[in-house]
């Protein structure tokens, strides 16, 4: 046959759900790396966060005999069965972003969400040495990775920190709702000492967010009101530079995309990969924000 790459490999990447910017960055990485090695990246996932739908898609991919799967499990337990089936069918499976350590997945690439939360908590505690009252804003109340980020965050806070009633607030991954909640929280607790976002939702709406925290902006600049947020997207970096946030903690989804393809390629050619690959976290403050902005805008 004249086809040199008759065996062009298709690697599948299954996010928790479609339409989340974080995974879109992972997809970009996946595609770039796949193009580099002459393989194909099949990025497909459920339209909303749904364990069963994700498993169905995994089964469909097994039926399709893809060359490897990298999945971000919605639920570490329920995914175990289908991972075992894939392995049995000779398809290597790794996890990215969120892990299922008890499953037969061959490796994991990502940051430990709890570890990321601890990083955020450390920065938060450092900014408020005397402790104080704080609120937590999160996406969905049942998202395991977000809950890990919150758990890690709280672990680093001493006894002189007090979470306000009603926290954690859930915005269901909706930026508009996130801003509304910030407005509500600041009306109710005008003397709040700090706030932690387990994801960047309110800051994805930069203008609205800036308006919502305007009354406390001077306090943020003076370090009397501390805002620590997960994620390091461009609008967030700009807000930080403007003085609307204190610290950003970010994972590296692009690296998870490229790394996934490399690992799967190695595995499908019979190689081995480490059990856990840490893509690390970025911690952005006023001091290093410019370099991040430069990197992100290019």
């Amino acid at each position: 046959s004249g086809r040199a790459h008759a065996a062009e490999k298709t690697f599948a990447m299954v996010p928790k759900a479609l339409g989340i910017p974080f995974y879109a960055d992972a997809e970009t990485g996946c595609e770039a790396e796949a193009a580099k090695i002459g393989a194909k990246c099949d990025f497909t996932g459920p339209s909303q966060l749904d364990d069963a739908a994700q498993i169905s898609i995994m089964r469909d991919l097994i039926t399709k005999h893809v060359a490897g799967i990298s999945v971000a499990p919605n639920n570490p337990d329920s995914i175990k069965g289908v991972i075992a089936d894939a392995i049995k069918a000779g398809i290597p499976v790794i996890t990215f972003d969120s892990d299922s350590p008890d499953s037969q997945r061959i490796g994991f690439i990502g940051t430990n969400n709890e570890g990321g939360g601890e990083t955020a908590g450390k920065a938060f505690a450092a900014a408020l040495p005397n402790g104080g009252t704080y609120a937590v804003l999160t996406g969905g109340l049942s998202a395991a990775n977000l809950n890990d980020r919150i758990a890690g965050f709280k672990k680093q806070l001493g006894p002189n920190f007090k979470e306000v009633a009603g926290s954690p607030y859930s915005c269901n991954d909706d930026s508009n709702a996130a801003v509304q909640i910030i407005q509500d929280v600041l009306s109710k607790y005008p003397h709040l000492d700090g706030i932690y976002f387990s994801g960047g939702w309110p800051m994805f709406a930069p203008a609205a967010y800036a308006r919502a925290v305007k009354s406390r902006k001077a306090d943020i600049m003076d370090g009397k009101f501390v805002v620590v947020s997960f994620d390091t997207l461009l609008p967030q970096l700009k807000l930080l530079k403007e003085g609307d946030a204190t610290v950003l903690v970010g994972q590296r989804p692009y690296a998870m995309g490229t790394g996934s393809i490399d690992m799967l390629n190695t595995l499908s050619s019979g190689g081995t990969v480490p059990k856990v690959t840490d893509t690390g976290t970025d911690v952005v403050t006023k001091d290093n924000v410019d370099s991040f902005i430069a990197k992100a805008s290019k």
Binding site: L18, D50, A52, S56, L141
Partner: protein, 332 residues
């Protein structure tokens, strides 16, 4: 047509083929047939026994809930709470088992909770004369919140030893068929018989067709309506429990948004939102179509972002084919 076609069958008078062609479900079955043939051709893996079995398991969850929803819709109601009741039943059954109640007691309690929500919906619709949308929207919110309260966002697992027979319910097979599919078929047969052969079923159609006339014919309209909301909630509970057994883990957002898939399957299957119309065969096919579509799009390797476009188009097309069939026989 609905009720008529089901009950009347002046024997010998018409050919079997003629009756088939004129039956309500011909259009939608043709739509499914076209899809299956097309997929088998373009995605050879589709027709593999393994894939078929996967599909059969997958559509069973939604399918079971569609049975109850169809009964509600036949009486002219709607039940938006099914997705949340599904989640609450999943979480509460796991929580009960976690407390050491054992599978049978745990699941029974979870189903009782589901039934209580259905009862509440039914009472609001009948005794307080609310439009069904209102209480079921409220319980949609309430049941989901209760699931969250139980789990506080964490997943519940390890509630039974890994080799417990309970996990067979969702994950196992019998005679080579996935157990959820067997449950779905059995419940469909029961629901089908109840709707087409029993006095109860006939009364549901009458209520949906003309509630006032039904009342003046002595039907216990309130009691019958309450019963369908309870049945709908219980089918949602069953789906939740089977899903827990399948996933061997429970999380509060199980069944999230499923009310739309369920109602969509019922409507595609020919159930009218205005009541009085719908058959179990129709909604069965409706549930199958949605899953075959989803599965087919992945197997065809369609761009994930475009999939929603195809799903939407096929829904319109399937119903369009159904309308063609009706139009054809109407102008004949």
């Amino acid at each position: 047509m609905s009720a008529a076609d089901k009950t009347a069958a002046a024997p010998g008078q018409k050919s079997f083929l003629g009756r088939m062609l004129r039956s309500r479900e011909t259009g939608i079955i043709s739509a499914l047939a076209i899809m299956v043939v097309g997929l088998s051709f373009f995605a050879p893996d589709f027709a593999s026994p393994n894939n078929m079995l996967n599909d059969a398991r997958n559509f069973s969850f939604v399918g079971i809930v569609v049975l109850g929803q169809a009964m509600v819709m036949i009486t002219g109601g709607i039940d938006l709470s099914v997705g949340s009741v599904w989640g609450l039943a999943a979480v509460s059954s796991a929580a009960f088992m976690n407390l050491g109640f054992g599978p049978i007691l745990g699941c029974t309690l979870a189903l009782l909770i589901s039934a209580a929500i259905g009862l509440f919906n039914g009472l609001c619709v009948t005794k307080l004369r609310m439009p069904p949308f209102v209480p079921t929207l409220a319980t949609m919110s309430i049941a989901r919140a209760l699931a969250l309260v139980i789990t506080r966002g964490h997943s519940i697992d390890g509630f039974l030893p890994d080799d417990s027979i309970f996990f067979n319910l969702g994950g196992g097979q019998t005679f080579g068929l996935p157990n959820p599919f067997i449950v779905f078929v059995v419940l469909s047969v029961i629901a089908g018989i109840a709707l087409s052969r029993t006095v109860y079923g006939r009364q549901l159609y009458a209520i949906g067709g003309n509630e006032r006339a039904a009342r003046l014919t002595g039907l216990e309209v309130d009691r019958l309506k309450i019963s369908v909301y309870v049945i709908s909630a219980v089918t949602a509970g069953i789906a939740g429990i089977i899903e827990v057994s399948y996933l061997s883990s429970a999380i509060s957002n199980q069944g999230l948004g499923k009310e739309l898939s369920v109602i969509a399957a019922a409507v595609i299957g020919g159930t009218a939102l205005t009541g009085g119309e719908g058959t179990i065969l129709g909604v069965f096919v409706g549930a199958v179509i949605l899953e075959v579509l989803r599965n087919g799009l992945v197997l065809l390797g369609t761009d994930a972002y475009w999939q929603g476009v195809f799903v939407g188009s096929v829904i319109v097309l399937a119903v369009f084919i159904d309308q063609l069939r009706k139009g054809f026989w109407r102008t004949r």
